[in-house]
Amino acid sequence: MKPIIKKGAILSVVLFLLMQLYQPARNVEYGQVSPMHFTKLYKVPSRVEKILQISCFDCHSNSTNYPWYSYVQPVRLFLDSHINEGKENLNFSEYGTYSKRKQRSKLDRMIKQIQSDEMPLASYTIIHKNARLTKESKAVLLNWIEKKSDSIAANN
């Protein structure tokens, strides 16, 4: 019995080490912020921008602030799948490339997702405690997005 356990342990350690070799490209924007970025398109107050930065941009932009454990596989795979899904639904870095129709509907979706506490994801805030929206920051954020959304709606 014992040699089998030993073999298995060695095998899993080797597998774990081999896994570490897989380090795909990171979701990081080197250099300048894209001119298509949300914050370039709209005048975002610094308070709101800070909230977005801390609570949203990790998964919804081309610039993730990776934690140390992201270097460890298979954590990285899990994170990347989340980031890809997040970016597919809303990418602040490419917001300017969206059609006007899409921009409006995305603003509306942001409001609904934040209001219903669907976003930021619970699985994210459990680790990133500072990304959790406090009552106050939630109000600040919603207030600004709603105003923006209404002013765009009024212009059309």
Binding site: K100, R101, K102, S105, D108
Partner: protein, 230 residues
């Protein structure tokens, strides 16, 4: 003293009155300029209309004759219908699937809405866009992209009917714009529930004047009103 008070009051009334007049004028102005700038007709073929700078489809001359408003409305409807007939069939197919999504939501049937939205997505993907005028194509793609995204969300969220209804509100807007741009052979109505989403987005499209509310279902089945005929 009394005189001073009286005269200031009078002054205030005059000032306020004048301001209101100005505002009225301001609010009227953009409408008139818009309607006149909207349509021009060909000097040779008055039945051909378009925007300023467009050319006549029959003789190639620039459209220079401003169209009188009452005429403009009837002309606009006419030209729209002629221009869109080939694609209206596709719009109708999308609308048919959309109506199934709506009916499922009316019945509080989340799974049914998801299934119907899946069918709508397939219909959208199968749409043949070659018959669309190049100018309108961009608009169609924008509308269709959005509509598809909302259909996808409805399809993926069986069991979360509130979430589905949020996307249905936006899908309804896209469908409405699509019908407005490309026309339909169906008799449709835009209906509205002022209670939903603080009155912001509670529109839907129906083939019946009878109100059956897709945003609240059995909870408030008959809440709402017909906004307009499409």
């Amino acid at each position: 003293m009394k005189k001073i008070i009286l005269s200031t009051v009078l002054m205030a009334i005059v000032v306020v009155g004048c301001n209101q007049k100005n505002k009225q004028e301001e609010s009227v102005k953009p409408e008139t300029t818009q309607s006149t700038s909207q349509l021009y007709s060909c000097p040779m073929h008055p039945e051909v209309t378009g925007k300023q700078g467009d050319t006549c489809s029959k003789c190639g001359m620039e459209l220079t004759e401003p169209v009188v408003k009452t005429e403009a409305v009837s002309e606009e409807v006419k030209t729209e219908k002629v221009a869109v007939t080939p694609f209206s069939v596709t719009v109708d197919a999308n609308v048919n699937d959309y109506l199934k999504v709506k009916n499922a939501l009316v019945n509080d049937d989340s799974n049914g809405a998801a299934a119907a939205a899946k069918a709508l997505l397939a219909t959208f993907n199968a749409a043949n866009t070659t018959s669309i005028d190049a100018k309108l194509k961009k608009e169609y793609i924008e509308i269709a992209d959005e509509a598809k995204e909302h259909a996808e969300h409805i399809a993926d969220n069986a069991g979360k009917i509130e979430h589905q209804r949020e996307h249905f509100a936006m899908l309804s807007k896209d469908m409405n714009d699509m019908i407005k741009t490309f026309g339909t052979n169906k008799k449709l109505y835009q209906e509205y529930c002022p209670m939903y989403d603080q009155g912001k987005s509670g529109y839907w499209i129906s083939d019946s004047k009878e109100i059956k509310n897709p945003y609240y279902g059995a909870e408030m089945l008959t809440c709402g009103r017909v906004e307009k005929e499409l």
